[in-house]
Amino acid sequence: MLARLLRWESVLLVLCVAVFAAGSFSDGFGETSNISFLLLDYSEVALLAFALLPIVLTGEIDLSVASTLGFCSALTGKLWDGGMSFETIVPIVLVAGIVLGSVNATLIIRFGLPSLAVTIGTLGLYRGLAYVLLGDGAVTGFPENYRPLATDSIGGDSFLPYATILVLVVGALVAVLVHMTTIGRSLYAIGLGAQTARFSGIRVNRIKFSLYLLSGALAAIASLVYTLRYNSARADNANGMELVAVAAVLLGGVSIFGGRGTVLGVAMALLAMAGLRNVLFLDDVSNEIQNVITGLLLILSVLVPVVFKPRRTKDVPLEPSVVDTERRPGADAGGRLRRDHQGV
């Protein structure tokens, strides 16, 4: 298991080196301003990916992260437009993000609904509510004393933006949570078998519930960075960013079925993807083609491990004890429901 993980992370290391080596052929790649831009450009994606990682580890999914970001950004704009001070807006937006996360959590954990279906629904709902708040309009002119926090680098011209420090701190906290605490270890146990975890005394529901609250809070933080960085609050902010975040998590070696993955892997995947985006940007590759490449990366990151692994389940053994129930992300509640259905 450890050897497998290390192997995947060495693949990522090679990928990072390759991307940055390729970058050195592009004009201006190595310049300090470009490196800081490269890092800054992925700060929101990184925050969303760190929010997704623990959830995916438990075998669930949250596709609504980018819509939560969009809603919080629209809310920021609406309140700012209404004349509220930015210091008051920040806590309100954080609470809003946590509330949206708790709506997901309530539907998934209290009502026992599949996370996939719920978060596709709230993906639409939260984005829709963002449009309800702001319509097609945009709010700009955010306070100049806070904007540098999302745009500038330490000391003015170093390669390290303040926002990246925020990302690093969040990443470190998530790493501590996932790899160094009892709760973190139980995430893996839940991902490998929620029922076994429950019988082992892990408070599965409580842990899952808190992960969605964390996800909402991180999406709200990401929305503040996004809004200040672009100095613009729009209902379609970060539209489709869930793809990039999910791609980063899966490319980072996290299993979509849960129970496998590391923060280091996700961090390296983020670095590789940020580097790749920057190289493509410098080479004048359009945004749409960049999306194609992100989409392909997402598929490849799931396809490659499947193809290059001897598949145990190729011929399903006939002993029922060996037959594993087909696992599918976010289908845990489905299993529960089917049991109810069959327990007739």
Binding site: L125, L243, E288, I299, R328
Partner: protein, 337 residues
């Protein structure tokens, strides 16, 4: 009440629920604006529902097998753009050729998804989230590569446009096409061996495989058929709206999945009907048409689609729990007696 009849009443309950909701929405809109239910009003309602219904029928086939296709909006856009481009190349092209080309392109996209899901065993959610962006990107690249970002009605033959706007005996052509597809899909799913096997795969994939069902081939087939229907939907979109750019169908996957789930197809597979999915599409598009009449801004549409999906799965869950409790109680009574 026996087990079978309890299940039947469950499904009748779902379709009844949609009809009740539909009547309520139509009644509210008609009271506010009486022309909502005029001949033209009904015509428009059917027309609006047709394309989404077609996509929902295909999606229902996949959801029944415990899969999902999030790339439908992008495939629809690609096929709509293809039909426009074909007419740009040759305006005298027979309409049937363009329709078939659109269907074929959709089927190819479906085959790509299906191959990744069925052969490479990658979860459908991940594959189609990826291809959503890949297909959309190809659409944009194509549109910007040919320097025709928008294709307009005057560049398309009138025969093609009248296919989209015309009607037979008051029923819009597009609705007739959707109804024919619905009838075939409903019959096939209910009576053909392959159709029944889709339910078996969705109920329990391992059991289905052990029972000798070629699960991979069936899932692949469902993706191809669904893709072909989405392709047809794209051509219909082009014929109906007459304006095509690279963003056709953007974000439609939400409405399609919502229609399927509202229509009573369980998101974990194994149950539901295409008729339900089509009714779900009719209900959602009717709500969308009724919103502005009831004084709700059009910006609410996306929120309503998402909320409808959430309400539908919550009701399903509540209903299933109640049903299970009732049947368990009945069994206890039978045992005691």
């Amino acid at each position: 009440m026996t087990r079978a009849s309890a299940r039947e009443s469950a499904f009748a309950g779902r379709e009844l629920g949609i009809v009740v909701a539909f009547v309520a929405v139509v009644a509210a809109a008609t009271i506010t604006r009486p022309t909502f239910l005029s001949g033209q009003g009904i015509h428009d309602l059917l027309l609006n529902a047709s394309i989404i219904a077609l996509l929902a029928i295909g999606q229902a086939l996949l959801v029944i097998t415990r899969n999902i296709d999030l790339s439908v909006g992008s495939v629809m856009g690609l096929s709509a753009y293809l039909s426009g481009q074909l007419f740009l190349v040759d305006k005298d092209l027979p309409i049937v050729v363009v329709v078939l080309a659109g269907i074929a392109l959709g089927a190819v996209c479906g085959a790509v998804n299906g191959a990744l899901v069925a052969i490479a065993k990658v979860p459908a959610l991940v594959v189609t989230l990826g291809t959503l962006y890949v297909f959309r990107g190809i659409d944009y690249a194509w549109a910007s590569g040919t320097d025709t970002t928008q294709i307009n009605a005057y560049q398309m033959p009138s025969g093609f446009l009248s296919l989209g706007s015309g009607s037979v005996l008051g029923v819009p052509n597009l609705s007739l096409i959707a109804l024919v597809v619905l009838a075939i899909a409903a019959y096939g799913l209910h009576n053909f061996r392959a159709g029944r096997e889709l339910y078996a795969i969705g109920s329990n994939p391992d059991a289905a495989r052990l029972a000798g069902i070629p699960t991979g081939r069936r899932v692949f087939g469902a993706f191809v058929i669904s893709g072909a229907l989405v392709g047809l939907g794209g051509v219909m979109h082009a014929a109906y709206f007459g304006t095509i750019n690279a963003s056709v169908g953007n974000g439609r996957e939400l409405a399609v999945v919502a229609a399927v789930v509202v229509g009573g197809v369980a998101i974990f597979g194994g149950s539901g009907t295409v008729v339900g999915a089509a009714l779900g599409a009719l209900l959602l598009t009717t709500i969308t048409s009724a919103l502005p009449i009831l004084g709700v801004p059009a910006f609410w549409q996306r929120a309503v689609d998402g909320a409808a999906l959430l309400v539908a799965i919550s009701l399903d869950r509540a209903f299933m729990v109640r049903l299970a409790q009732r049947l368990r109680a009945e069994r206890a009574v039978r045992r005691a007696g």
